[in-house]
Symmetry: C2
Subunit: 316 residues, 2 copies
């Protein structure tokens, strides 16, 4: 190791896809001297021990954070408040608490009030994931070339922000800062609403009686297959996303329905010119995404593989 670790001890609370990827990336980069961990489920804790994800695994979140310089909350957004309340008394003065939740305003409201004044709080959100979950689903390169968005509050000190930024950059991520509400709107557009739509479409296919499930499954070669991948993401995490980013998601859903009805009407009326113009415009947006480097034309479509099977399990 040529560089000094950024943190002496990092505590990961919740040992799912994100936390297990962080553990592997932190270790690979020599970014912390020690990693402690806690998961609510005894099975997850046993797995984490078995595969050596953390140096030490604790049965309680409070014990896991004791003496830690950085505490990363990797539980579903709906579980953040309970965890914050539980760990608050054991937090070391000068420590920093962060999280990896997909919604930021709700996390700030759930966590912020419980933290002592001598502890910094820097909310964060790595834009990375796969449809797998659980402690075996992590891989060290998950954050490589992906964005991590930080949404600092009055509880964020410049030093705490700078160190957390260095940690994410050390794991290969690009870091940006934005205001929490803006984050929640942007994510409603690029992630939350698309997930809800994918879930819905997969549900429709499943309900249909005239088309058998085996046909749906067998012939899902093109569009539908991409939807099922999205719709396979962790149910608990996504339930909490929709419950806690309700306003932005309902706003975007309303716009989506309006747009869909216009296209639906064009189909009913046989307005080919309208459809062609619309589809040409969306194609151009795709080009912009490739040019912005968020994806490639290459076969893996910018994704990286989980090192092990993954699946199952709840990240909390």
């Amino acid at each position: 190791m040529t560089k000094a670790p950024i943190y002496d001890r990092v505590a990961l609370i919740g040992l799912g896809l994100i936390a297990s990827s962080m553990a592997l990336a932190i270790r690979q980069g020599g970014l912390a001297r020690e990693i402690t961990g806690h998961a609510k489920s005894a099975e997850t804790r046993a797995t984490a021990l078995e595969i050596g994800l953390c140096d030490r695994v604790f049965d309680s979140a409070a014990d896991a954070v004791e003496g830690a310089d950085l505490i990363v909350l990797c539980v579903p957004v709906g579980a953040m408040e309970d965890v914050a309340r539980a760990i608050a008394p054991k937090l070391k003065a000068g420590a920093c608490v962060t999280d990896v939740g997909s919604v930021k305003r709700a996390v700030i409201e759930a966590v912020g009030p419980h933290l002592p004044a001598d502890v910094a709080f820097v909310p964060g959100h790595p834009l990375a994931g796969t449809e797998h979950s659980g402690p075996r689903s992590g891989f060290a390169t998950l954050f490589q070339n992906r964005w991590c968005l930080l949404t600092p509050t009055a509880q964020s000190t410049p030093d705490a922000i700078a160190r957390l930024r260095a940690l994410w950059e050390g794991m290969g991520a690009k870091v940006d800062e934005m205001e929490a509400d803006h984050h929640d709107l942007v994510l409603a557009v690029v992630s939350h609403t698309p997930h809800l739509i994918a879930y819905t479409m997969v549900g429709v296919a499943d309900h249909l009686r005239r088309v058998s499930n085996s046909e749906v499954i067998q012939y899902s070669a093109s569009g539908f297959r991409d939807f099922t991948r999205i719709a396979a993401s962790d149910p608990t995490m996504w339930r909490d996303v929709f419950l806690t980013n309700k306003d932005a998601v309902l706003d975007i859903l309303g716009r989506f329905t309006e747009e869909l009805f216009v296209l639906q009407r064009a189909i009913r009326m046989g307005d080919g010119a309208h459809l062609h113009e619309y589809f040409t415009r969306t194609r151009a947006i795709r080009r912009g995404i490739i040019e912005a480097g968020q994806d490639t034309a290459a076969p893996d479509f910018g994704r990286v593989a989980p090192t092990s099977g993954g699946g199952g399990g709840n990240p909390a």
Copy 2:
């Protein structure tokens, strides 16, 4: 070549992604002695000649089909009738006409009536594609392990069906037969409606004023990126799909909107149990798709890469 070619001469009408992939796969498998081709656009014809896609490229569809044993219509569904009318007088007795359109009832009605009685007609649809189009976008392995659905009619002879099946299997595809209307409903579920939804969501993101396009593009890491890939498909092809599979698409869209409204209401009411149950069910469907071998958990998600850049161009 250890086996005799299945056809002496195959004529490809329209030289986009599917036709160029067929040309490469047919050549690789020694499945025909000669490949002729035609495309409406002079630029596409010039490209096809330049890259040696066909043995001979003709300025008119009628000339391209003269003497051919198999004629494959690879033009958008809306262009099928004009092509059928143009080639009918030049078709060889005993020849077989097939197509690769994404909708089958409309193609049967557009093409069937124009064909002479001594020519067989076997409508077909390979469930394979990428978001690229044009003569440079093809690759020989596009159909590998993908389904090709045939929807025989009274104009399909057992011999013509058997030879066409052998051709598709020779290109690596799995072949199934079904009734045309059933095909159109199945495809409305697994492909057409998902594409329309993806187009819509990408359009919504583009309209939004409070979220900049650069943000949408930059942070499209998860859900949205998959949507943009789907929404980048060829505009002409998709316009025709929606215009010619109108009834089935409107039926599925209606079901989709109902389902979406139920989920939207659950979000508004804070009904987490409903959301969790729904998302758990869709995750199970995804597992079924992986088990059915239509996708893998591996990094390329079962896709194969175009050999060259692709993009642009109209397949007709």
